[in-house]
Every structure is written in C-alpha cells, then in structure tokens.
C-alpha cells in the first residue's frame, strides 16, 4: 500500500524522519518495502541562487547566468538559460552535469552558441512538478533554503510503500496505520469527522436491500443522495489519490476511493436513477448470466460468484467492481452509496476467475470489521455533500445495525513468557496490550482475559496475543540467546554422500550443472523418447509447454546443457548434474531404491547422476592428441568415481539400445552393473540422430547412474598390512575370437587368479596376420603380491589357473 506521509499526518502526529518512521513501522510488523519521493523522478538537481544575469553575447533570446549551487555542488557556475522570468536573488532548480530528468533526459556540460553552459535551470514541466513550461520554477527568494540542497527533498512528497501482512486487513488504510503509529509512539489518534447533516427525505423510501445469503454478505449499509453535482473532486483529494496510486475520476467516485484508502472500507456508488425503484438484491449470479463492468468488458458469470442486482439483472460484482449500467457520471443527480462486507473467499475466487483483482477485492479478502461499514458510509456521505453539494437522505439502510459482542481470548502469562523468552507479569502484559486497543482483566492464577478490539479480526488465540505482546515489547528488545544443550542423537547427513560425489567429479575435471526438473515435450522428442509415455509425471497447470513434465531421465537435461554451450562455441564440455528424476508406476513396484515414496500412489522420485562428455579428449596443447572423447574416457571417469568413493569398480555390459536407451548409438550402449550383475546405470555414445536434433555436433557420450545404488556399494575400509616383499609382474597375450567381450576376458582372469592377485589390466590390443583373421590378441598384465620372498611357484600355479580358465570359458589361446 502506498502511504503519502502528508496524508497520514492528518490522523496522527509523526515527529520522525521518513527513514526513522519506516524503520519503526517495519519493526512493528508493517514492513516498509520502499521509500519513494513522489513527483521527484530525477537526480542531480540542486537549489541554486541567481547571482548575476546578463544577455547571451551571441543570442538575443538567451541569458547567461551565474548561479551559486553551494560548495559541495561546485560553487559558482555559468549556466545558459532561455527563460524570461529570471531575477537576481531568486532560488531556482539547477540541474548539474550528470543529472537525469524525467524521461531519461541526461544533462551534460555543453556549448550553447559559443558559450559553455554548466548545466540547466529547470521549469516545472521539466521536473514533472506541474504543467508550467513558461518560466523557471522559482523555489524562493530569501535565505529560507541554502544553495546546494536537494530539490527532490524540498518539493517531492514522501510516500512509504507498506507491505501490510495478509492477516492485518485492519492496517490497510491511513487510519489503520495511524492507529499502529499512535499505539507505539503514544501520540493521539485523530479519527476523521463523520458528522453528516441529513436532509428530510428518508433514504429507506428510495433504497431497499434484500440479501439472499447472509453468509456471503453479513453486512450491507447504504445511503441515498439527491441534488448531486458530480464534477471533478477538489485538488487536494486528487493529489492524495494520485500519490496513493489511484486515478481521479469524478467527485463521487473519488470520495469512495478516498474513504477506502482513509478507513479501509471499499465502497461503491450507483446512479440511483438506473436502479429501478432503488431495489437492490444481493444474490449469487445465475450460470451464464452476464454483466458489463465499468471497464466496459462484458463478463460471463456463474453461480459461485456474488452479485449486486436490481430486480432482474446484475448491476455489480460484489466487492470487486460495479456495472456500467449504473455507473455514476457527470449527469448523475441521485446516488446510492454502498458500504458492505462480503465473504472474502468468494470475492477472492471471483476476482481470480475473472482476472479482476482490485484494491477493493484485496480488502474484502482480508476481512473487514463489522462496525466499519457504518462509520465509513457516514464519512463518505459527509465528503460527498461537501464536494458535490448533494443533500444526504435521512437515515442509513442497514441489514444488521446491532453491535456485536467483543471477542475474548484467555491467555496464560507464564506460558506466553516461556514462548517469547522474556519475563512477563499481568501488569506488564496490560501495559503492552492496552495501547493497541486490547482490554485486559485478571482471570485467576496465571490467566488473563483479553478483550480484542473489533478491528483486530486476526486475534483469536493466545498465540496471536503472544505475537502482539512481542510486537509491543519490541522484537529488537528480545534477548538473543545462544543455542543451549539438549542436542538430538546423531544421525548421518543424507545429503553429504551426494556432495562427496559432486566434489569428486569436479576434481576429475567435470563442471556441475543444475538443470530444470521440469522439461517439455520437445526435449523428450529430441532425445528420442515418447513424450506420451504413461509413466511420465505431468503438470495440470504448467507455466509453459517447455516446463510441463517432470524428467524421467537425465539425458534431455545433459543434452540441453551441451546445446547451450554449443551455441556459444564452447566445444569441449564435461558436465554432470546430480538431481532427482521422477516417474509414475502404479502397478509394478520399481526395482530402484526409491528416495522417497511421494504422495499418492505409484509416483516416485530418485536421485540420479548424469554425466556427459563432448569435444576433445585432451585439452589442446603441443603434443596433445586430437582424439575426441569416447566411451572409454567415460568409463575411466566412472571407474575413478568408484575408486574415490571406495566402491568396487563396476562391470560394463553391452545392451541392446531398445526403447530404454533410445538416445544412444545402438552398437555403443551398455549397462553399468555391480558384482552380482545387477545394473544400476547405463552409458554409451549419443545417437547421431539425437546429436543432430539437439544441434550439438561431434560424438558426445553420456552416462546415468542411480545415486542411491551407487552409494550403497561403498564399503568400509578394512586396512590390510603392507607386506615387505617385492610384487611379481607377469604378462599374458590372450588370443580370442573377434567379438569376445574383453570385459568377460578380464573378469575371468580376475576371478581365476587367486588371492595373491593385486591388479589386472589390459595394456595392448593386436589384430593382424601373425594371429590370423577373425582373431584378436589382448595383452594383459598381472601383478601378484606373494606372502614370502621368492615364492614364484604359487604364482606360476595361479597363472596356470588363469590360462586354463581362459581356454575353458573363452576358447582362448595363450601366448
């Protein structure tokens, strides 16, 4: 809410500077989110005193002036000016070089007809202060203002932008805020006058109101006016409305808006002659009924909406906007003024469905005190009479004139003190609450009975009173206490192992990306998958088609990351993303270790690690290879990740690139499997069609791993003693038929070599005449660690077992 300080001061004396007042309000829960100087949309304009004025040597219509702009702003400056109202001694606004005027007009030092001008003297229109363009805006003549002072602070109106919390509808007005300020400064609150001098004609002879559903409209008050002369409202009212962000329209309409801002009561004025017999009905709209609102849009209504109607048709949307047919205009002479309370949720839902949120609907949503409509209708009647010369009809049409009993809340003093961490007693609570309008009386023992003022609809329990006490005591005076004992039992941090994976991968040279969990159909299609897959989790109300589906795999995110870098000619890319993937599998319990069962049946989310590599295998450098990354590089990274985590390295198994791996090269797709042969990830080269669809080029490779399963493989460290015996190295050349998976060869070698084996690795591959067509020779190196020095016999036995197993399982020939 925009709060012009000058307006606020009508209701309470404020001695504080704007900044101090803003801090004070914020500390009381009325957050000032911005301090503006309305009508001062400029910078670099200071007060200058005219010291000397003479004709410009080269131009008859221009003047050359010398202006004192104060020491800080540059002392005496020569400024060329074209205005004809200059006199020595005047105080004028001087825009210095670097100043920015409304409309982004930048002032620079410049030469005008051969004479340097160090800035510009401003007219009212140039500063946006008014329509006057004829002369310089004269700020004064005497010593009342010192040269160099900021003109913005001199003439601008300070407006606080106050963010009133949703539970404090009572503070959504000048009087509401003034009441808060009065409570914490001890100043008096001055309510505006609502004394109406009524005419002889009884309002109820001209207005009647029938409420069909009192739940939706608990209070409806109305007044009736005749002899209205509806011109523009007075200047002072227009200025205030403008400062508060409202557009002036006509006296009657402006009064309703003025009182809404002043007291917080939304109001509406109807042209009484457009309401047959003055008969008003408050009812639900009928399905399909329509109404042209005063913004001249025809709106189709339904029965969830509340309308103000005449005997037949709707004439207004309750609490939101009036209808065009009863709009008050220049010719209006008789007026019905409505000041009512409508059901907040109904107003909110209607406004939302019609896209018609307004200042009025915002106030109805937050709730209006029962006694406010009647006071407000009188206040408005007084202002309408004053501004339009109208005669006010006698009496108020009111469906529920009897006052309500006040709400009472019981609180325990000790309990509230314990909650706030401050010392409290009954006397202190009373002293804190009474200025806010609460009445406190003892209720036995530790208990107090607190009577809530009628405007505080938000206070219904002792917790609410605790907050009031804290506000009144001052949050700044609550002692900050350092954490005390009573720690919970230790449990490991579930996110720490994931962070370990991140750090390891960064150490291996990969960059982390965090991509959107929500992706689009196009992303899925481009990656080669079915966007209509029933296992996808879709949104009912996506922000856009690009973010409508929760990703079920990492590939679209990874390829998106590649594509983004390709756009900026960044070809060497190694990225990983550790985040959730999501799915819907109502029937089959999935084999994944689910991170969590989510709400509803069959939906899951699971931590997944995606890796993608593209571009050169080695950074460009003299002697570096030009080779592009391949699947082996990717496996190297995955192996290293396992090593660093302390998990056994996985095996890689070829896999048909079926629908589960549609984004991969069919001959270069594999599964990442654990020692028991269970897959927990997949990897491979990206399919050339998918590469082309994403426009990335090259031959990128990608992998995806189930993070929960990966982490479950991490074993504890059981340290072994280090023998003081030299290791023994042996190499074998193993010739097998082309097509035999080398992974199988290494697995057989590893499993048959016995307990002394430390390491097996492949170090060469040979194809050629020496071994014959259709055969491959793999050179494999073994390192054994014997228990005792010189024990070569047991190692020869182990190698023989390896040879035998390779022959037996793979038909290998050993050389």
């Amino acid at each position: 809410m925009r709060v012009p300080l000058a307006w606020l001061r009508d209701y309470v004396d404020v001695d504080l500077e704007p900044q101090a007042l803003a801090d004070e309000l914020t500390m009381r829960g009325m957050e000032v989110s911005a301090i503006e100087v309305a009508g001062a949309d400029w910078s670099g304009v200071v007060v200058g005193r005219l010291l000397h004025v003479e004709r410009h040597p080269n131009a008859d219509t221009l003047w050359l002036t010398r202006v004192d702009v104060g020491e800080d702003a540059g002392g005496e400056l020569e400024i060329v000016c074209g205005a004809q109202n200059l006199e020595v001694g005047q105080l004028v606004p001087a825009a210095l070089p670097g100043a920015v005027l409304p409309g982004e007009r930048r002032i620079e030092r410049s030469k005008i007809r051969g004479v340097v001008s160090n800035g510009m003297l401003c007219s009212a229109i140039e500063l946006g202060l008014g329509p006057d363009a004829d002369g310089i805006h004269i700020l004064g003549h005497g010593d009342e203002i010192a040269p160099g002072a900021s003109v913005a602070e001199l003439v601008g109106e300070v407006v606080l932008d106050v963010d009133v919390k949703p539970n404090r509808g009572d503070a959504l007005s000048m009087v509401g805020l003034a009441r808060e300020i009065a409570a914490f400064t001890g100043a008096d609150l001055r309510l505006p006058s609502a004394e109406v001098s009524e005419g002889d004609t009884a309002a109820d002879e001209h207005v009647s109101v029938r409420i069909e559903d009192p739940e939706l409209n608990p209070r409806f008050t109305a007044r009736w006016f005749e002899g209205v002369s509806n011109g523009p409202s007075p200047d002072w009212m227009q200025r205030r409305l403008l400062a508060a962000g409202m557009r002036p329209i006509s006296a009657v309409v402006d009064v309703t808006n003025y009182v809404m801002h002043e007291l917080g009561q939304p109001m509406h004025a109807y042209d009484a002659d457009a309401v047959p017999e003055g008969k008003i009905v408050v009812r639900r709209a009928r399905d399909g009924e329509s109404l042209e609102t005063i913004d001249h849009v025809r709106r189709t209504l339904d029965e969830r909406m509340l309308v103000i109607a005449d005997r037949e048709r709707p004439i207004g949307l309750a609490g939101i906007m009036g209808g065009a047919s009863t709009e008050v205009g220049d010719a209006t002479s008789r007026v019905i003024l409505e000041s009512a309370i409508f059901h907040g949720p109904t107003v909110r839902n209607t406004a939302r469905r019609l896209g018609l949120r307004s200042e009025a609907s915002a106030r109805h949503e937050k709730g209006i005190a029962t006694d406010l409509p009647r006071f407000a209708v009188d206040r408005a009647a007084k202002l309408i009479a004053e501004t339009t010369g109208a005669r006010v009809g006698r009496g108020i049409v009111d469906n529920d004139p009897d006052p309500r009993p006040a709400t009472e809340v019981t609180m325990g003093v000790g309990r509230v003190g314990r909650l706030l961490g401050i010392e409290l007693d009954a006397e202190r609570v009373t002293r804190l609450l009474e200025p806010l309008g609460f009445a406190v009386k003892a209720g036995g023992d530790d208990a107090l009975t607190v009577t809530v003022p009628p405007w505080r609809l938000d206070v219904t329990s002792d917790a609410d009173l605790a907050e009031e006490i804290a506000r009144a005591h001052g949050y700044e005076r609550i002692p900050g206490r350092l954490p005390r004992a009573a720690l919970p039992a230790y449990r490991p941090d579930p996110s720490e192992p994931r962070h370990r994976i991140r750090r390891i991968l960064a150490g291996l040279g990969l960059d982390e990306m965090v991509s959107h969990a929500l992706i689009g159909r196009a992303d899925i299609e481009r990656t080669g998958y079915d966007p209509d897959d029933p296992e996808l989790v879709r949104l009912f109300n996506p922000l856009s088609e690009d973010h409508a589906i929760l990703r079920s795999r990492m590939a679209p995110s990874l390829l998106g990351g590649l594509a983004e870098n390709a756009r900026w000619r960044q070809p060497d890319v190694r990225l990983f993303d550790l985040g959730a993937i999501y799915g819907y599998r109502p029937e089959s319990p999935t084999t994944r270790d689910l991170r969590s069962e989510t709400a509803g049946t069959g939906r899951y989310e699971s931590w997944e690690l995606g890796i993608v590599l593209a571009g050169r295998a080695e950074p460009a450098s003299p002697g570096a290879s030009d080779r592009e990354v391949d699947v082996a590089d990717l496996k190297g990274i995955i192996d290293a990740l396992h090593d660093a985590l302390g998990a056994p390295r996985p095996a890689y198994r070829a896999e048909d690139a079926g629908s589960e791996h549609a984004h991969r090269h069919p001959g270069r797709t594999g599964l990442i499997v654990d020692a028991a042969g269970r897959p927990y990830g997949s990897l491979g080269e990206v399919h050339p069609r998918v590469v082309a669809a994403w426009g990335v080029g090259g031959r990128p490779v990608d992998a995806s791993l189930d993070v929960g399963r990966l982490l479950s493989l991490v074993a504890g460290i059981g340290a072994r003693s280090i023998p003081a015996v030299q290791p023994v190295d042996r190499d074998l050349a193993v010739v097998v038929a082309e097509g035999t998976p080398v992974g199988d060869l290494l697995r057989v070698a590893r499993t048959s070599a016995g307990p002394q084996l430390v390491e097996v690795h492949l170090f060469d591959v040979y194809r050629g005449e020496q071994i014959g067509a259709g055969k491959v020779s793999y050179a494999v190196s073994f390192r054994f660690q014997p228990e005792t020095a010189g024990d070569t016999k047991s190692i020869e036995r182990a190698l023989n077992k390896v040879r035998g197993s390779l022959r037996h399982h793979l038909g290998a020939e050993i050389r």
């Binding site: 206490r481 919970p488 941090d493 996110s495 991140r502 929500l518 709400a599």
Partner: protein, 360 residues
Amino acid sequence: MSDLGAELEALRARADDALRAAGTTEEVEAVRHALLGRSGELTVLMRGLGQADPDARPALGRLANEIRDHVQAALSARAEELAVGDLAARLQDEAIDMSAPGRPVRIGHLHPVQTLMRDLREVFHAFGFEVFEGPEIETEAYNFELLNIPPDHPARDLWDTLYVAEPGSIELGQPRPAADGTILRTHTSPVQVRAMQALDAPIRVITPGRCFRYEAVDASHASEFFQVEGLVVDRDTSLADLKGMLEEIARALYGRDVRTRFRPGYYPFTEPSVAFDIGCLVCGGSGCPACKRTGWMTILGAGMVHPEVLRNGGFDPEEFQGYAFGMGPDRMTMLRHGIGDIRLFFSADLRFGRQFAEGR
C-alpha cells in the same frame, strides 16, 4: 732392475699417457680393459711374477701392486673428470623454454548454489542440526493444510502452485488435477511436519531441497528454486533462542560485523512470525536501489511453530514449543557473488559456471 721391473715402469708411463689421451668415458673404459682386463697388459705381467727370480719376487710384487693401485686410481680420476664434463654438456643441451605454458589439466567447478548449501549445512552442523529430507512431489495436505494454511488462503491459489495432473487426463484431452491431491511442493515447510512425525524431541533439523512455484520467470523470480528450512522443537525453546540462533547464523555467513534486524513477519504456520534482515551488502545501510532505500535486505523468514502445526506433527503444544525458519539459497548466492539474474542458476553455460572456484 730386472726386465720385468722395467716393463712394469714402462707400463705405468704408458697408462698415464693413454689416460691423458682418453677424451670420453668410453675411451677410459677401453684403457681399463687394455690394462686390467682378463688379458690386459698389467694382468698378464702380474701373472708372470711367478717365474721371476725368487729373491727379486717380493720387491717386484710390491712394485706391481703399487702400479696396479696407481692405474686404478688414475682410471677412476679420469672417468670422474670426464663424467662431470659430459653431464655439464648434456644439461646444457637439455635447456628448455621455461616461459612455455604448462600442459593443461582440467578442473571442474561446483554449482555456486550447491556450494552455498554445503556451507549452510556446515554452519548448521556446528550448531547440532541434522539434515532431514522430504519429497518434492508432495500432497496438498502436507504443503498446506497441516501447515495451518486453509483452502481459502491466498497461497493456495492455482496461480502459485504447480499441480500434478491426474494420470491419463492430459492424454485424453481432459486435464484435471490429480485426484490424490499431489502437487510440486511450493516450499520446504512441509518437511517440518514430516520431521516432527518421524522424530522425537529434541528436534533440530534443516531440510534443504528443491521447490517449485507457478511464477513468471524473470531476473529475480524462478519457477524452480532451492530452500533450506530449519526446525527446532523442544520443551522450552523460545523466540529468544530463535533470535540468538539467527544472529549467529548471520555472523557465520556474512562475517562477525554484520548488522542484523529481527522484526515481525507473517506466516500462517508460525506465531509469532519473524522476518530477519541484514544490513544492505551493497550500500552498507545508507540506502540504495538494491535495498529500495531501506538499508536492509531480508534473508530469512521465521517464527515460533504454530500450535496447530505442532499438533499436526504429533506434539502437544501445551508441552512442546519450537521455532522454524526458512531461507533462499539462490538469493543468498546472488548476494554472495553479486549475481544479478537468478536464471543463470539453471544455465549450463560454462562461461558462468567456471567462475566459481572452490577456494572463493
């Protein structure tokens, strides 16, 4: 002197000449071989000592040994002399251009928001907080009702929440929200209730995670973002404890000298509610566009857990009380690094990501 003696003396002189002439270690080796090898001159002469006159034998033996020692020493000395020269020459040959660049080693970079969240976890670990995680696909009940946000509360608006569609309804062209009320969580606060339901008092947890909002995306708003929620439940944890904790957290994150402001706020699931500010990091509090001239930046919302929420978590509000707070790591990261556009966090652009070295 016998012939043998003269031969030995002559040999000594020849050896000295040969060594003087030897210019490389290889030539020195050849001299060694010619004199001391299996059929070397000295070896042969010494073998002939047996046939010498027995009277002259001891003197000749001494002379032979003396000459052998002399030759050996001279060989070593000459070899050593030459090796030093060889090495010097080699080292000179091997000089490289020391101004040449190093062979590149790739390093990776962590995402700045993830790094900030790790830093937060470290700070909170130090205060005895544990990490407790909840699902991103939530129910309306946990996201709203159990947090004391009734169906008519503005936060429940369709416009703020992303609803999961009923399976199959979109494919059939009749989209409707899932019948089981699933949504994407709009905040991490539902994890408060889950933590209370799962744990016994005392509870001291933080609940980091991804959240989703139906929010038009611009430089300062994202539809996906992260939150870190904190929850403490105990018998006498008070607003004063909350204040002390938040002040300590601010000092840990922004330095011991940070100015803080603890003020009233509003959340349906806390009462009293708190907003927590730090002095503007851009202008230091004098007022600037970044803080809208207020001098303060809000980094955190908090409050005492509402009695209804305690009840929903299985705690009797007459016996237990506690506080909760929530913060936005994305915004905190923007403040930390002076990042002006929140959308960069969901970009894979390496020109952005590679700025964030571990040590910074």
